[in-house]
């Protein structure tokens, strides 16, 4: 299990150090600093083993969070914990930065005491944590409230307390996807996948029971075959269903029900939470196509032409488009011409960065650049790193659609129809690269 957790700043100074087990000594702090943070070569592996001690780290801006253990732990669990820890800290004091951590170190120790016990992760649900770890100091709590906390922490539904009341019952549902691509210069897809999240914000009274439906292939096929329901399934069968490779759910989802009926039903936590995560690899809608053209003119000149094509409904608008064209290391000068947006040579990053604010679907745009090179002694050839792209589109590149989200609250007098529901799709680029 987790032996300890350290937080370092970019210089390797320890900001937070919490040791849970005796087998971790103070020298572990230095070992990580010397071997990872100050390593001569950048350490790329998130897991480092130094002298029979394992270090798992994540980096948030300039802050290193490292978990130390001498035991054989589940690495996935450790990283899940670290991400959760980041989420919790972010929800308490915003951006994780050196200054914020220094200002909140008492809070962080308090949190660490709560969410890790003798190295075993405990309740890390922000919503429930906020009820008893507050930044405002101790409130005068009534007896009932205190007993409520106890029952909540120890009870079956640890993520939601009883007696929540809203005047307006509202639900926000975001489908956030990031699409990753590697394409050959000829336009052949070498690898592509979408990793998505369904994030919800619920403001519902009482202890509602929710049911979530989407166009997952298995569910639709099952519905189709069984012929049990025809209200929604049949009518949407014209739309494509998608194959989800794997998915994980928030702890509130009843897994037994999912396993037997493939239906996602849950009692939602209050406030914001992530309902599920999933990954798809088939039938991905690639929002943009990059067509590169690189020509070497002699030893001292390079001509680059890049065309991007948007490949979605013309009515939709892509935003925050950024194309990054790497330049050789011996670039001595760049001239850029582009039809749309702004392009600039950024020497500090060795790349031409082309930014377009908005772009509608089924459009095309192009940039051409002349790169002057300085002849060097090295005979090494330029490795031609891929052209990468960033964007944001208002649809789900995986093709996922929300079919329904039903809310049942038997005790209180509001029904599914009274709940205001909002659904939003956002597709972002992950690592979206085209070789040139």
């Amino acid at each position: 299990m987790i032996g300890g957790l350290f937080i370092y700043n970019h210089k390797g100074e320890v900001l937070i150090s919490r040791v849970y087990r005796d087998d971790i000594g103070r020298n572990a702090v230095d070992a990580f600093r010397v071997n990872v943070i100050h390593a001569r070569q950048q350490v790329r592996s998130p897991v480092t083993n130094i002298a029979r001690t394992s270090f798992f780290h994540v980096k948030r801006s300039n802050i290193w969070l490292a978990v130390v253990t001498k035991q054989n732990v589940n690495a996935a669990m450790v990283f899940e914990f670290l991400y959760k820890m980041c989420d919790v800290m972010a929800s308490y004091f915003g951006k994780i930065s050196e200054e914020n951590i220094k200002n909140n170190f008492v809070l962080i120790y308090e949190l660490l005491d709560e969410i890790l016990d003798f190295g075993y992760p405990q309740n890390s649900e922000t919503g429930s944590l906020k009820t008893f770890i507050t930044q405002q100091g101790i409130k005068g709590q009534t007896k009932e409230e205190q007993s409520q906390i106890t029952s909540q922490v120890t009870g079956q539904i640890g993520w939601r307390r009883e007696g929540i009341k809203y005047r307006r019952n509202e639900l926000f549902l975001d489908v956030l996807e990031s699409v990753n691509l590697l394409m050959s210069p000829q336009g052949q897809v070498l690898s592509a996948h979408v990793s998505g999240r369904v994030v919800m914000k619920s403001y519902l009274s009482g202890m509602p029971e929710c049911k979530f439906g989407m166009n997952d292939k298995i569910i639709i096929d099952k519905a189709g075959k069984g012929g049990v329901t025809n209200e929604a399934g049949k009518s949407t069968s014209g739309k494509q269903s998608i194959a989800i490779d794997d998915c994980t759910f928030n702890q509130c989802v009843r897994l037994s029900k999912f396993d037997s009926e493939r239906s996602i039903s849950f009692i939602p936590p209050d406030g914001e939470y992530e309902l599920m995560r999933y990954r798809t690899t088939k039938d991905i809608i690639l929002p943009f196509r990059v067509i590169p053209l690189v020509r070497e003119v002699g030893r001292t000149k390079l001509e680059v032409k890049v065309v991007i094509k948007s490949n979605f409904k013309p009515s939709l608008l892509a935003q925050k488009i950024e194309v990054r064209i790497p330049t050789p290391l011996n670039t001595s000068g760049v001239q850029v011409i582009c039809m749309k947006g702004k392009a600039k040579y950024k020497a500090s990053e060795n790349a031409i960065v082309w930014k377009i604010k908005r772009m509608a679907g089924m459009k095309e745009s192009q940039i051409s650049a002349e790169i002057e090179l300085l002849p060097t002694n090295d005979k090494k050839k330029w490795a031609r790193p891929p052209i990468s792209m960033n964007f944001e589109v208002p649809f789900a590149p995986s093709g996922l659609k929300v079919r329904y989200l039903k809310v049942f609250e038997s005790k209180l007098n509001y029904s599914d129809h009274d709940v205001i529901k909002w659904v939003r799709y956002i597709g972002r680029s992950g690592i979206y690269e085209t070789r040139c």
């Binding site: 970019h10 950048q42 300039n62 290391l329 011996n330 670039t331 001595s332 000068g333 020497a347 500090s348 990053e349 060795n350 002057e372 300085l374 002849p375 060097t376 002694n377 090295d378 090494k380």
Partner: protein, 962 residues
């Protein structure tokens, strides 16, 4: 040139560096550097030419980026351009970049070399210096090739500035160290030497470094520097502290130069010229005198500088080793330092004294400080100083003070530092052995040693005690008694048990008369330790028990009972079990006579170099040489000259002897075992054929004291009756290495190699006694006409062969034409006053110069037929004197030096060989055919060669082999 008046501040560079220093993360730093690199690239690319200032600035930035650990693959050209600038700062940055970043890029190197050449030929001293520094900093082979000729010229040119000369000398030194083959001084030598006379002290200091390095390689060429150095030294030494102005350091005139001069003089023997020598002695005396003067300053730098010169002078005195007066004075001076409060000084004093102790002149003087040294050993806080003190005690030890020193070292051992204990133990053991007047003292000392520091007593030490006890009848009884007493202590060290077991097993009978140490008491005492010991010790004890059975028949029943017990006879350790089984059987089956023969007392060990000494040498490396030297002097034989090279040679020969001797001894001791084993009784063969080789493979194995395999058997061999025998010669016809001769005193090993008409033979003369051979000389002569046939050159050997030591002699042989006789080797030496004279034939035979020739069957028969004249053929039919084993025959024929041709003779039983005898005058082709007849046990040997004498001789030689 554009008028740039920006000054040398290079603000851009400063801003860039401070930007990098302010970067929060590595990523930020890389970004900044990328940006800067792009900026520099665009600047360098830019069409308008850069002025010198910006070029310098950008090259500087590149250099900084490179030093931060990033790759730089451009800008070299700009740096080279800077070299041709006329501004000092620009040139300097250019050279800096080149020295740091140059790689063996051919075109650039050419440009750089060109620029350097220009600067070297310019008359501007600063530029010349910059160029020289660059050459020295790069120091590559290419640089050496390009400038090795140029720099000496600059160095000796009359019009060169002093500072340039200084740089040139050091630059040349660097090139010489990097590629000595390219720096040829030749004609410059004398002029370089005369730089010692230069007015400028800096030039002299630089030149002397160069000369010291050069003269260590070829001392003869620079011999003239000695007198110059002496006069320079005397001028410095006699000058007042204010005379040298800039070169006076805290009131000491030119301390660095003085040290270097003294060190240079240490490369040479004492000057022969009386006047020069007188002057030098005067200098050394002055230096010693100055040490006595009150310090001119309280500053530590003053005394450091003064002492540096003093120590260098003392090492020179020690190096010369010929001025008793100076040696004694040096010793007294060091004696003062022994009580100095500065730890470093005490350390240095002890160290120098160690070498002084080995000089015959100052040995006595060193001895006067014994109390101080012993005190240092006891009270010194620093362990390294204590170590030196121990070394010095060891070095100053002789017969007169051995007892005191050994006692002191023993008492110190109890509190000594763990790191030096083992070495101390070895030293005590050696001193005790070397200066033992009566051996009971020796035995006492070593047993004490084992008691005090048993863990640090290595195997060699206790082997040695046993060797000595066995070889000395007079101490055996005493040893047995002491050991018996020592074993009575409740807790004994295992090494003590080993010694005890061995000695009681051998000589227990000597103390058995006393009822307090009756056989049974002895046995019970030993056996009480048995269970606490490790397996090897237990094995040794088992052997001791069987010896007890022989010595004291009355213990037989008890011991057999012990051997029969399950813990022995069914021991899980194979060795112990086997011993128990074998000894039990041996004791129950063999008659008393057989038992007595098998378990006879161990014969004396052959005397040879103390194994402990070898071990100490191994531990300390060359440091032990001084002891060796002292050893020689102790015996009244000083090797004169006393130059350092000689010492080193002795050290080398000392270090190298063990390996060949071990080789030869191994060869010798393995042979008798296999020889004696079959001759023993049938049962004994079974019992001992397994134990035998193991027991005798090492000189003194821990338990090899069963006398069934006496290692001395080899020495019982009758020495071959000397000159008349060709038998000896025949032994070496088919082999090149082996033991040529052996008697009780001397063993001669031989190792030889031949190529074409040249041969080299190594003779190893091993002194088997413990007494030295004096006036040892060897003469190789070629009697009669052999003189014109063979050309033999020998190197003379040392006239003194220490007891147990081995000396090596190299003989070079050239075969002028074919020959029959063998050269004679005559050895003369005095052993204990009696003149020994041995004559031997050296196994040089004509077949040694065979060059094997491979040829096909058709070829062979064609040539065979060509040599069909009767006088070209020699044939012999003879009876086989050994077995007719094919492999043995093949090996012998190959050993002969010819090529053994397969599938040539139609009869596969026959052997066919071909070879060419290489002599200086001619080459003699030789074909050979050997037809064995298995039924008749006969051979027919036919030889055909282009020369009749050769056929006959080879035929005669070979006939003796089968």
């Amino acid at each position: 040139m554009p008028a740039v008046s920006k000054g040398d501040g290079m603000r851009g560079l400063a801003v860039f560096i401070s930007d990098i220093r302010n970067c929060k993360s590595k990523e930020a730093e890389i970004k900044r550097i990328n940006k800067e690199l792009a900026n520099i690239r665009s600047k360098f690319k830019g069409d308008k030419a850069l002025d010198g200032y910006s070029k310098k600035k950008y090259v500087c930035k590149l250099l900084f980026i490179f030093l931060l650990g990033h790759d730089i693959d451009f800008g070299h050209m700009e740096a080279v351009n800077l070299l041709s600038s006329n501004k000092y700062t620009e040139k300097q940055i250019g050279y800096l970049f080149i020295s740091v970043l140059v790689n063996s890029n051919s075109e650039l190197i050419r440009l750089i070399n060109n620029a350097i050449k220009n600067d070297l030929s310019s008359r501007n001293p600063t530029f010349m210096c910059l160029a020289l520094h660059c050459i020295a900093n790069v120091g590559s082979r290419e640089m050496a090739e390009a400038f090795a000729g140029e720099i000496p010229r600059i160095l000796v040119a009359g019009d060169t500035m002093d500072s340039v000369k200084q740089s040139a000398a050091l630059c040349l030194l660097r090139l010489y160290k990097a590629s000595p083959d390219l720096v040829l001084m030749g004609e410059w030598t004398s002029r370089v030497v005369h730089l010692l006379n230069d007015q400028h002290m800096g030039v002299v200091t630089a030149a002397i470094s160069l000369i010291t390095c050069l003269s260590s390689k070829n001392p003869d060429e620079f011999k003239t520097c000695v007198s110059l150095a002496v006069s320079r030294l005397s001028r410095i030494v006699s000058s007042a502290s204010t005379d040298l102005q800039d070169y006076t350091y805290y009131f000491v005139p030119a301390p660095w130069l003085s040290c270097k001069l003294l060190r240079l003089l240490q490369c040479y023997p004492p000057p022969e010229d009386g006047a020069v020598k007188g002057r030098l002695v005067e200098c050394l005396e002055t230096i010693l005198n100055k040490a006595q003067e009150p310090p001119k300053s309280k500053k530590v730098q003053h005394s450091n500088a003064k002492n540096a010169i003093l120590f260098e002078a003392i090492s020179l005195i020690i190096h010369y080793d010929s001025e008793p007066n100076l040696l004694v004075r040096a010793c007294n001076q060091l004696g003062q330092f022994l009580q100095h409060r500065e730890t470093n000084l005490r350390y240095l004093a002890l160290e120098s004294m160690c070498t002084l102790a080995s000089s015959e002149f100052s040995h006595e003087a060193v001895k006067t400080h014994i109390e101080t040294v012993i005190n240092a050993l006891k009270t010194e806080r620093d362990v390294s100083v204590r170590q030196r003190a121990a070394d010095l005690l060891y070095a100053m030890c002789d017969r007169s003070n051995a007892k005191q020193i050994v006692a002191e070292m023993l008492s110190y051992l109890e509190t000594a530092d763990y790191s030096i204990r083992e070495e101390m133990v070895l030293k005590v053991a050696i001193l005790a052995e070397k200066y033992a007047v009566d051996y009971s003292w020796y035995v006492d000392t070593i047993l004490n040693l084992i008691r005090i520091a048993g863990d640090y007593v290595s195997e060699e030490v206790w082997y040695r005690v046993i060797q000595i006890v066995i070889n000395r009848d007079d101490v055996q009884g005493y040893a047995a008694k002491t050991v018996f007493e020592a074993l009575q202590a409740p807790a004994c060290h295992e090494n003590m048990v080993k010694v005890g077991g061995y000695i009681l097993g051998e000589f227990g009978n000597l103390i058995a008369g006393d009822p307090r140490s009756s056989p049974l008491v002895q046995f019970n005492l030993l056996h009480s330790k048995f269970h606490l010991c490790s397996v090897p010790t237990r094995a040794l004890l088992l052997s001791a028990y069987i010896k007890f059975i022989n010595l004291f028949p009355e213990t037989k029943a008890t011991i057999q009972e012990v051997l029969r017990s399950d813990s022995q006879i069914r021991n899980s350790d194979v060795e112990l079990q086997q011993r128990a089984v074998e000894y039990l059987k041996l004791s129950s089956i063999a008659s008393t006579d057989v038992l007595a023969t098998v378990l006879e007392e161990m014969p004396p060990f052959p005397e040879r170099e103390s194994s402990i000494l070898a071990k100490l040498k191994k531990k300390k490396g060359p440091g032990a040489v001084s002891v060796e030297l002292e050893d020689g002097k102790e015996r009244g034989e000083l090797n004169g000259g006393g130059d350092r090279g000689g010492d080193a040679a002795i050290a080398a020969s000392n270090a190298s002897t063990p390996s060949p001797s071990a080789d030869l001894l191994g060869l010798r001791s393995a042979a008798p075992v296999s020889g004696t084993a079959p001759s023993a009784g049938s049962l004994l063969v079974d019992v001992f054929s397994e134990a035998g080789p193991a027991a005798s493979s090492a000189g003194v194995n821990d338990d090899g004291f069963l006398s069934s395999a006496p290692p001395s058997a080899a020495s019982e061999d009758p020495a071959p009756p000397l000159p008349e025998s060709d038998e000896l010669l025949n032994k070496f016809v088919c082999k090149n290495n082996g033991v040529l001769f052996e008697n009780q005193l001397l063993q001669i090993g031989i190792k030889s190699e031949y190529r074409q008409n040249l041969g080299r033979m190594y003779l190893f003369y091993g002194n088997k006694t413990s007494v030295q051979f004096v006036s040892f000389s060897t003469i190789v002569s070629c009697p009669g006409e052999l003189q014109s046939q063979l050309n033999v050159q020998t190197k003379t050997v040392e006239p003194l062969v220490e007891g147990g030591a081995q000396v090596q002699q190299v003989i070079n042989i050239e075969c002028l034409t074919d020959f029959i006789d063998a050269p004679l080797l005559n050895i003369k030496f005095r052993y204990g006053g009696a003149l020994q004279n041995i004559s031997l034939k050296l196994p040089v035979t004509i077949n040694k110069f065979f060059q094997p020739t491979e040829m096909a069957a058709a070829d062979f028969f064609q040539r065979w037929k060509q040599l069909s004249q009767p006088q070209q053929e020699a044939q012999k039919i003879f009876k086989a004197s050994h077995g007719m084993d094919t492999e043995v025959l093949k090996a012998k024929l190959l050993g002969l030096g010819t090529a053994l041709l397969e599938n040539v003779d139609p009869n596969p039983e026959n052997y066919v060989c071909a070879g060419v005898i290489q002599t200086k005058a001619q080459q003699v082709g030789c074909l050979l055919r050997l037809e064995p007849n298995a039924q008749a046990q006969m051979y027919r040997l036919t030889l055909r060669s282009s020369k009749d004498t050769v056929s006959q001789r080879v035929c005669d030689l070979l006939a003796e082999q089968f």
